[in-house]
């Protein structure tokens, strides 16, 4: 049983990271206001939300299985309070920080109608901290963190999110950027 939990805990962490990478890239795409090939904007928004939901489910699985399993020696407190863990507390703590940030982002997203767009967006910015922290946690804490496969995956993820970010902060990022700039001149 313990072996199954341990394996599930590791795999679900990797799957969750892949899904979060997709969520971040899709979120940036959504923000640009552009459709992607033949996928309309409203579908992209839905895909972004569904990726986020799936990623969160796998994250819950990752944390849940590792709390139950006896190798990881994870306590319930470690899930919420960072840097107290017994195994590589720093790297495990990063995972806890990322987890807390995910919880904050998900809760404010679900409540965005009540709390308003400002609070929603302010918290949503934390995603840009969450993602690299989660990646660092995977590299530093993961049993497979330094395997060839995972390093390749990490490099590909970094390139995709990095490219999306460069685009995000470029002047032509918005679909309507050109018109808007011309009008201002």
């Amino acid at each position: 049983m313990d072996n199954t939990l341990w394996a599930l805990g590791r795999v679900s962490g990797i799957v969750s990271l892949i899904l979060f990478t997709g969520t971040v890239v899709l979120g940036i795409l959504t923000r640009s206001g552009r459709p992607l090939l033949s996928i309309p904007r409203y579908s992209l928004t839905l895909i972004h939300r569904n990726f986020a939901l799936l990623a969160t489910i796998f994250l819950a699985l990752h944390v849940g299985t590792l709390v139950l399993d006896s190798f990881a020696k994870l306590t319930v407190a470690d899930v919420v309070v960072p840097f107290l863990g017994s195994y590589r507390p720093f790297w495990q703590g990063l995972g806890t920080v990322a987890f807390d940030l995910v919880v904050a982002v998900v809760v404010t997203s679900l409540l965005r109608r009540r709390i308003g767009v400002r609070a929603f967006r302010a918290v949503h910015w934390f995603t840009y901290a969450m993602w690299p922290i989660a990646l660092a946690h995977a590299l530093g804490n993961g049993t497979d963190g330094t395997s060839k496969f995972f390093l390749m995956l990490a490099i590909c993820s970094l390139i995709s999110v990095g490219a999306a970010l460069v685009w995000r902060f470029s002047t032509n990022f918005l679909e309507t950027a050109k018109t808007r700039q011309e009008e201002l001149q």
């Binding site: 904007r41 409203y42 679909e175 309507t176």
Partner: protein, 82 residues
Amino acid sequence: MREVLHIDWTRCDGRGLCTELLPTLLGRDDWGYPLAMQAAGGDPSNVVIDFQHSEAAADAVKLCPKMALALAYEADQADETW
């Protein structure tokens, strides 16, 4: 009673999701902002939603990234005075 979709332009950022979902009711200006093709009561920020478009309009309200859309019911009379 009729269903009316209200666009709050102070919130809208012209991301165009609503214009995709309601292509026959909403046009888009150069900046990307939605405009009612047939304005309710002469106001292009209010769109009359008929039965067929009710679901798409509800989707638009849910998906608008800026929460700039709202659906409301109002009395038909508003039109008759015009």
